[in-house]
């Protein structure tokens, strides 16, 4: 079995699914000839032709808007937004239409499309290229939002997303696009949406993370393990709908929790997770839940960027704090 990084795993998923599902169309800026600025769609235009892997004009709202029309017309569009920082240009279409079509037509029209976007900081990219505004998407009814943290899951989740009858936003943590290699099988398998994964077991504290923060959470768990603290790490994988059952089950066991995200703290998804835990496992809580998050600031340009992102050190501090409470 080949060891792939996340870019390759996503590329493989697209290639395999486009081979067996002729309704899939990839469209976006630079996705064709160039193969995407991160090469996620590399080689696909050569394989499937310019009608199925389409370089579009520079217009995010129309990329999503025409995808809606393509979906209504029987295709399964997979629009790419080049960076999440440019997703706001398409947010109007997402908020007003993508997330609503099924409901406003009482099921008469559905939108099986998958919007892909690399997201997050940590690659020393220019201004507006480091955003992680996933909480905004998670606030919108009618959307599913998926964030893989490993190559294997990336392929399996993307295949599941491509087969889902409803619109999915598939956010790719670009910081770890090439950071992790693991065995990714060729051929068909899916990782179900809306199911979190316990990636490391422990009974002292629950650490919830997604995207590139999972790696930091696991490293933090390793750090504190040396001090005798057994941290359980949960990778959300899908942030909407949120698999709070898995989180709550873990908290019932550990009584303590740390939530990690790189997005801004205030009104980030961490708050929602804390709310759910509080609502569903109040009596299990032995200590206040802690959030380790990006600051409530714009992601700094590269010279100060590293100060922004939560890392294993910060996560381990929080773990110690809740354990010692």
């Amino acid at each position: 079995m080949a060891k792939l990084n996340m870019v390759e795993a996503i590329n493989l998923a697209l290639k395999e699914e486009m081979t067996q599902d002729e309704s899939i169309i990839i469209l976006g800026e630079d996705v064709g000839r160039l193969g995407g600025v991160f090469r996620v769609t590399d080689g696909l235009q050569a394989l499937f032709g310019p009608d199925r892997v389409v370089d579009t004009p520079l217009a995010e709202a129309a990329i999503v808007g025409t995808s809606i029309g393509l979906a209504l017309g029987g295709f399964k569009p997979v629009p790419e937004i080049q960076f999440m920082g440019f997703l706001p240009a398409a947010l109007d279409q997402i908020i007003c239409h993508v997330s609503r079509y099924r409901n406003r037509s009482r099921g008469r029209y559905t939108l099986p499309l998958v919007i892909r976007a690399p997201y997050g900081a940590g690659i020393h990219a220019p201004e507006h290229h480091s955003e992680s505004t996933e909480a905004i998407l998670a606030h919108l009814p009618g959307l599913k939002v998926v964030i893989p943290s490993t190559p294997y899951d990336a392929k399996g989740l993307l295949l599941a997303a491509l087969r889902d009858p409803d619109p999915v936003v598939f956010l790719e943590p670009k910081r770890i696009y090439r950071a992790i290699r693991e065995e990714v099988p060729e051929g068909d398998y899916t990782v179900p949406l809306a199911t979190a994964k316990v990636v490391r077991e422990g009974d002292a504290v629950t650490v919830v993370a997604w995207g590139s923060m999972v790696r930091e959470a696991v490293r933090a768990a390793e750090l504190v393990a040396e001090e005798g603290i057994a941290a359980e790490v949960i990778d959300l994988r899908t942030i909407a709908p949120l698999d709070d059952e898995t989180i709550v089950a873990s908290i019932r066991k550990t009584g303590r929790g740390v939530i990690v995200h790189e997005a801004c703290r205030t009104c980030g998804l961490g708050a929602e997770i804390m709310a759910r835990i509080q609502e569903k496992a109040f009596l299990s809580l032995a200590a206040p839940l802690e959030r380790v998050t990006g600051f409530d600031t714009i992601v700094p340009l590269l010279k100060l960027e590293d100060h922004y992102l939560p890392d294993a050190g910060r996560v381990s501090r929080a773990i110690r704090k809740v354990v010692r409470f």
């Binding site: 169309i25 009608d51 389409v54 579009t56 004009p57 217009a59 709202a61 129309a62 999503v64 808007g65 025409t66 995808s67 809606i68 029309g69 393509l70 979906a71 209504l72 017309g73 029987g74 295709f75 569009p77 109007d92 279409q93 007003c96 239409h97 099924r102 409901n103 406003r104 037509s105 009482r106 099921g107 008469r108 029209y109 559905t110 009814p141 009618g142 599913k144 889902d164 009858p165 409803d166 809306a194 709908p241 949120l242 709070d244 059952e245």
Partner: protein
């Protein structure tokens, strides 16, 4: 009809019937628009006029929510949608009741929508019409996508996309038209220029002398048409459809009409336009033109005319009743259509609402 003959930059405009129902552009009249077909389309205009009046009546009586009348825009509605064929898509804005009816959306559904039920957008399976779209201009790219899909499938169909003069200012309109030019999608951008976007007159909407000339920016033809002239609208839209259908790419049509009524039932136009302006426009009634023409041709008797209005009044009343009777009040509907499968947290919220309503002694099963 040759679209190229109507360069908006040269001030040319498609016109066939004048305001008195006299034919001024005989050679432009499409061959397939027989007098019989014209009578049929006149029927459609009457149906729309009556349905519109009924909506206003119901709104005033509190039986309907905010409603945007089509009064004055009947020719633009009917003349355009009439050229569509089986398999073609229609993408409305929110002032196209006539076009939607023509393409098979039941009036009862349109009423249900404005009465405040999402079921009003649950069109029959075979009807290729998108739901009404409230956010101005956002539907245009959906239409381009539909046309694109049809092109990829080699369906040979066209998509007719409606929007208003105000919508031309939106970035969505620009991006969508630009995509259509680039991908040569078979669609028609049909702008009902009714001279106002709520209170904002056409002159404030853009400094371009005409809206039709905006097509220059996208590399496809734009054409002005007298939007109160059923025949002219038909002719121009048909020419555009023929071009699109044959792979010639999109066309922009500016139908110059006038909104005789308020923007919606919540609007008070006396705050922003003079009574005289409206009065002057009232003589230019799109129905009257066709009626005068038909009368001159001996195709319409006063008796037939009266019968026609009576018939549609009865039909419309029946549809209104049907709409009111058909609206389900089942609170489950709030939750059940967001996803193909109800996720657990929504099931929980649905259950919560049931408990609340049960606590109030309210029935929860519709």
């Amino acid at each position: 009809m040759n679209l190229a003959d109507f360069d908006p930059l040269a001030g040319r405009r498609v016109e066939i019937l004048d305001i008195q129902g006299n034919v001024v552009g005989r050679d432009l009249r499409p061959a397939d628009l027989s007098d019989a077909r014209l009578l049929d389309l006149y029927d459609r205009m009457v149906y729309l006029r009556v349905a519109d009046q009924q909506a206003l009546t119901m709104q005033r009586a509190g039986r309907m929510g905010t409603y945007p009348p089509t009064l004055g825009q009947e020719a633009a509605n009917i003349g355009s949608a009439a050229v569509l064929e089986e398999g073609d898509w229609l993408v409305p804005s929110f002032r196209e009741m006539g076009a939607m009816l023509l393409r098979g959306v039941p009036l009862a559904l349109i009423y249900m929508y404005w009465m405040g039920s999402e079921w009003g957008s649950h069109f029959p399976e075979n009807v290729r019409v998108l739901p009404i779209c409230a956010p101005v201009g956002t539907q245009i790219s959906h239409g381009v996508g539909l046309a694109w899909a049809a092109k990829l499938k080699k369906e040979g169909t066209v998509t007719l996309i409606y929007f208003g003069d105000g919508a031309t200012s939106k970035g969505d309109c620009h991006e969508a038209m630009n995509f259509a030019g680039v991908f040569q999608t078979p669609c028609i951008f049909f702008c009902q220029n009714n001279q106002y976007a709520i209170s904002v007159p056409r002159s404030t909407q853009t400094a371009a002398a005409t809206l039709a000339q905006k097509a220059v920016a996208y590399g496809f033809p734009g054409v002005m048409v007298d939007g109160n002239d059923l025949l002219a609208v038909y002719a121009a839209t048909q020419a555009a459809a023929a071009q699109a259908r044959s792979g010639g790419g999109p066309v922009f049509i500016e139908a110059q009409t006038y909104r005789l009524g308020p923007h919606t039932t919540a609007d008070d136009p006396s705050r922003y336009r003079l009574e005289e302006e409206v009065k002057a426009q009232e003589s230019d009634d799109p129905l009257r033109r066709v009626r005068l023409y038909l009368e001159k041709q001996g195709l319409l008797t006063p008796a037939a005319e009266t019968e026609r209005w009576e018939r549609y009044r009865a039909l419309v009343q029946a549809e209104a009743k049907k709409a009111e009777a058909a609206i389900p009040l089942n609170p489950d509907d709030i939750f059940d259509y967001h996803y193909a499968t109800l996720p657990p947290y929504l099931a929980f919220q649905k259950d919560y609402l049931h408990r609340i309503l049960a606590g109030r002694g309210e029935p929860t099963d519709g």
